[in-house]
Amino acid sequence: MNITTSEFFRTRRLVLKGAGVAALIGLGVVPFDVPQALAAANDKYPEEAFKQKTEADAIKALYGKTAEPSDKVKMDAPEIAENGAVVPISATTTLADVTSIAFLVSENPISLIASYKIPAGTLPSVANRIKMAKTSNVTVIVEAGGKLYSAQKEIKVTVGGCGG
């Protein structure tokens, strides 16, 4: 690590400060009792959730509760991904009061791929590209009105994208 603490705090923007603190936690430089003001709830990087190997553990670390399947969560993904390194996946939902959307791949070494915070006024729809080690179930979690809803789909991968 060739970046010093002072360089972090020279950053003027509040959001980056929050992110910087999250990164420092990751480096073990700052103890976990970081002042709440800096690590404002919405800006905190869910370090622990990104360390969990299984899908259930990742969901627990991220939200602290379990999800129920819902047909109001729609996932758009290919049946077969020729290249596991780049699998285009999008998710959308008709649920109201959505606060976050997360993507998980159960067979990846680290299950959680991405977690998106959806502030009020942002549409509950996101598209991204993910890596898949092998054929696996892909899960989308939508947090809406404090509850978790999920959709799942198996995607067949012909060439894995996590090395090996």
Partner: protein
């Protein structure tokens, strides 16, 4: 240095659609190089989009997001000519930021 972030924000009246493409290796820490040595993790952890001083979209990413990541979302509001600020920080503490005009 050219920015690592390419962003296109298009207003269609009520909503603004945003697409961003970022140049980043997004190494997960599970891939080996040609010599059989593990390539250490190097990936973007937090990507933030701000409009009018407020975050409109925040991505928390792990190493499972593809190299040169792409993301698309939309938010209500946003006028042509307004600024949208995009910034990221990776697990090594590197950052980049750019501001795009909504089209």
């Amino acid at each position: 240095m050219a920015s690592s972030i390419r962003v296109r924000a298009t207003s269609n009246g009520d909503t603004t659609e945003v697409q961003a493409l970022i140049q980043h290796p997004m190494d997960s820490g599970f891939v080996k190089d040609a010599k059989g040595e593990i390539i250490p993790p190097h990936f973007i952890q937090v990507l933030t989009f701000e409009y009018d001083g407020k975050p409109v979209f925040v991505a928390d990413w792990g190493g499972g997001v593809s190299k040169d990541p792409y993301v698309k979302f939309a938010f209500k509001g946003g006028k042509k000519g307004d600024d949208l600020t995009v910034s990221w920080i990776d697990n090594k503490g590197a950052t980049d930021t750019t501001t795009a005009k909504i089209q």
